[in-house]
């Protein structure tokens, strides 16, 4: 008994540590944590680690293998320790138990078929480069989106208020930040998801994890083969129901004295409740009654889930991928129609990026210039909420590679600064008919000012004026020109490269050093 108490407490402590650290990673705007630390904290997150492994096949991305081994040993302890979305649900559940009289949860029916269907569907589609179901349901990505879209704005507001008060007494340790909105769709999606999660967890506890979560489904199957399990001792158990009352997964059948360990989320709460030591965590005795029955029905469910997923595959494939278009505000000017969106640095190609990003929004949060924003339909429906470079909001800092370094799924591959300096995300395009210099006959040149490679240069025009000319070969597609351009619609913009290319280095000619000893020219 005593050991189980310690074990449970340890589980709570570990889960809270991971919960807080991961929350901080997503909420932070100062880039305070080192890349190595962020990678270490997210190392065990299942879906990012698996995706990273697929695209990198590196040793640093083997966290999911550790989780598989842990599950084969002890069951789904991942769901109650390392998964921040699991801990978030536990917090709602704890609050309910703390502040209402209802200590028990409704017994939900089991949705194993749906759960397996989601698992099969998301795996199959992932293999074929369609990550959409995983993007919608991955627990870490949903947690990230909730933090970045809903919690972070509150955090920034508090920071700005704090900065404001400190500045009034001449302390400038804090500073105000205005990252702008992520995207209305992503905010609404996170809100809807959070409301669903609160409703489910308050009513049915951890039903999400056993119905909609693809990681839960996979680890559930694996945990059938776990060496150590939670089980009821048929001889001691009095069917008093104390353990099943605290079970968040509803996986204990007190009358049959069985535990469906595939649905157990490993919270260990039940272990501390039994007055007779009738509930155990260890190697169960070979008892055909406990072992085989749920297994058989599960196999049937798995097959049914397969059919369900194939049916939905067919229906999904009917959805076309529409192109996002912007219409100009000034009808007399030419609209900017981008054929391809600009994907963040390190994304290699739209194909690679769209197939491996689960839209966790970590890059959205970490980007110092706040240029990375969740997309709507720019990548098509399947890329919903995957981040893109929004050059109306900001531009990409020439000497920055943070997003590529911290991406947990490998959708963005790590870059070094020298690579980034010649990495071409897209190519500059100039629309003379929209440009101030052409339409108003006054100097502007904002685009050329901000260009880091001088892919936008100014050339004499109409005697005294200067008009931009572009050299797409040395353009890196950072969007500084597009962001700075004062016209609506823009006169200069970056057309995304569907496959990122290498830009030519700007030609550098020697300058002659003037004679410093010359006299003053006045």
């Amino acid at each position: 008994m005593m050991n189980f108490r310690v074990l449970k407490k340890a589980r709570v402590v570990v889960s809270l540590i991971f919960f807080l650290l991961i929350t901080y990673i997503f909420i932070d705007f100062t880039n305070a944590l080192s890349v190595a630390l962020i990678q270490a904290i997210l190392y065990l997150e299942f879906v990012p680690s698996l995706l990273n492994f697929i695209s990198l096949a590196g040793i640093a991305t083997t966290g999911f293998i550790i989780i598989i081994i842990l599950t084969l040993l002890f069951g789904r302890i991942y769901c109650s320790t390392f998964c921040p979305l699991g801990t978030l649900q536990d917090i709602f559940i704890w609050l309910k138990r703390r502040f209402t009289r209802k200590k028990q949860f409704r017994k939900s029916r089991t949705f194993n078929q749906l759960s397996y269907a989601i698992l099969i569907l998301s795996t199959l589609l992932m293999v074929f480069g369609w990550i959409f179901p995983l993007l919608l349901l991955d627990p870490l990505s949903n947690f990230g989106r909730i933090i970045v879209n809903l919690v972070r704005p509150v955090y920034l507001l508090l920071n700005n208020l704090g900065a404001f008060f400190l500045e009034s007494i001449d302390i400038y340790t804090l500073y105000r930040v205005e990252p702008g909105m992520t995207s209305w769709f992503s905010i609404l999606f996170s809100m809807a998801f959070l409301i669903m999660l609160i409703w489910l967890s308050l009513r049915y506890a951890r039903l999400f994890c056993n119905t909609l979560c693809p990681v839960g489904a996979l680890l559930g199957i694996l945990s059938k083969f776990s060496i150590f399990k939670i089980y009821l001792n048929q001889d001691i158990c009095t069917s008093c129901g104390k353990c099943s009352a605290v079970c968040k997964a509803g996986c204990i059948d007190k009358d049959k004295k069985t535990v469906d360990f595939s649905r157990c989320i490993g919270c260990l709460n039940c272990l501390t409740t039994c007055p007779d030591n009738g509930i155990m965590f260890g190697r169960p005795q070979k008892n055909p009654d406990i072992m085989l029955k749920p297994f058989d029905s599960n196999r049937r469910n798995f097959l049914a889930g397969g059919f369900l997923s194939l049916a939905s595959l067919a229906s999904i494939s009917l959805l076309a991928e529409p192109q996002g278009r912007r219409r100009g505000r000034d009808r007399s000017l030419l609209p900017v129609i981008k054929k391809y969106p600009v994907s963040p640095p390190g994304s290699i190609s739209l194909e690679h990026f769209n197939a491996s990003c689960t839209a966790c929004h970590l890059c959205v949060s970490a980007c110092p210039t706040h240029v990375i924003k969740p997309s709507l339909l720019q990548y098509g429906l399947s890329g919903l909420m995957q981040p893109r470079m929004n050059y109306h909001a900001s531009f990409c800092n020439f000497d920055c590679v943070i997003c590529s370094e911290i991406c947990p799924t490998g959708a963005l591959q790590p870059l070094i600064i020298e690579e980034k300096h010649v990495l071409q995300l897209g190519k500059v395009k100039f629309i003379k008919q929209n440009c101030i210099v052409f339409t108003e006959g006054t100097d502007c040149g904002a685009c050329s000012e901000h260009c880091p490679t001088k892919a936008v240069k100014m050339r004499p025009f109409r005697k005294t004026l200067l008009l931009p000319v572009v050299d797409p070969d040395i353009c890196v597609g950072c969007g500084a020109c597009e962001y700075a351009c004062p016209t609506h619609p823009k006169s200069i913009y970056v057309e995304g490269n569907p496959v990122h290319l290498t830009a030519d280095k700007p030609k550098i000619e020697k300058l002659e050093q003037p004679d410093i000893d010359d006299d003053f020219p006045f």
Partner: protein, 307 residues
């Protein structure tokens, strides 16, 4: 003052007083027969040393920092910190110069000295990579953010032609003394960026200027709050690809500095040092026409110091 000087000056002054021409006017006509005393120059140009030494020499000739900063006053220094670039790229004002200026403000009795810019690149990178943040902290100044619209207050610019309303950083509006410390650079849209152009970094919405005749807006803003002192860093000078520059290959050494109260005169002198004529830079001509300052250097008392 030597006895002979005293007699000569006294004599001259007497003659001039009689004929109703000021000493100032006399020296203009006669091509500077009498050197004005320190503190009476319209403009000081220094050449041939490092920024700190040139500043010390130059400000002494302008009557010392105490001529600009009185004890207990609050000072704001506005360098160019626009870019995420190291000092050798000459995209930002020399950091040691800023450090020295802060110390000299404190020596003159300043209550506080604050430094900020509304940067073009990401502001924290600009502040640190320019080396300015470190120098400000070392010298005991405040390095203040300019990255949030909430720091800017809307003001009217009654003498502006195009630019009549704009949002200005509160430090510019609330400080007693305003010192402008640009770096001389080539500029793709304004041709050159010097003292007047540097003031684009104290307002929030620069896009509006680009949209509504950039040169006129630069001159318009200079009618609003003229800096009490302009110190132009022309030690390292970006000769092309400005204002951001592509590499250190865009930079030459001029080892020079211009100090003046007159922002237009300072710009005119720096333009000539760059190798261009003030008339070729539209915002300088416009500012001269609007009476903001004097770009005709032959009409000014200039102290030329070679070190």
């Amino acid at each position: 003052m030597k006895r002979r000087d005293f007699i000569f000056k006294g004599l001259g002054a007497g003659v001039l007083a009689g004929s109703g021409i000021s000493l100032h006017g006399f020296s203009r006509i006669m091509g500077n027969p009498i050197a004005p005393a320190d503190g009476e120059y319209d403009l000081v140009a220094i050449k041939g040393s490092d920024p700190v030494a040139m500043f010390d020499k130059g400000i002494e000739s302008m009557g010392g920092m105490q001529a600009f900063v009185k004890p207990g006053q609050t000072v704001v220094i506005k360098p160019n910190i626009g870019w995420d670039a190291i000092p050798e790229r000459a995209a930002n004002t020399n950091p040691e110069l800023i450090g020295r200026m802060i110390s000299s403000c404190y020596e003159a009795g300043a209550k506080s000295v604050s430094v900020f810019d509304n940067t073009c690149d990401e502001w924290k990178n600009c502040y640190s990579k320019s080396g300015i943040e470190q120098e400000v902290k070392k010298a005991g100044g405040n390095i203040i953010p300019g990255n949030s619209e909430s720091y800017y207050r809307e003001v009217k610019i009654p003498d502006g032609k195009n630019l009549t309303v704009t949002k200005v950083h509160e430090l510019i509006l609330d400080s007693d003394v305003f010192i402008n410390v640009p770096i001389l650079k080539s500029h793709s849209s304004a041709k050159l960026t010097i003292a007047m152009k540097n003031l684009m970094g104290v307002v929030w919405d620069r896009r509006w200027w680009h949209k509504n005749d950039l040169h006129q807006c630069i001159a318009d803003y200079a009618t609003f709050r003229k800096p009490d002192l302009n110190v132009i860093d022309a030690y390292r000078v970006m000769k092309r690809n400005g204002p951001r520059g592509v590499s250190t290959e865009d930079v030459v050494r001029l080892d020079a500095m211009i100090i003046s109260r007159d922002i237009v005169a300072a710009d005119a002198a720096a333009t000539k040092m760059f190798g261009l004529e003030p008339e070729d830079i539209p915002h300088i001509s416009i500012a001269d026409d609007m009476g903001i300052g004097n770009m005709n250097l032959s009409e000014l008392n200039i102290n030329r110091i070679k070190m």
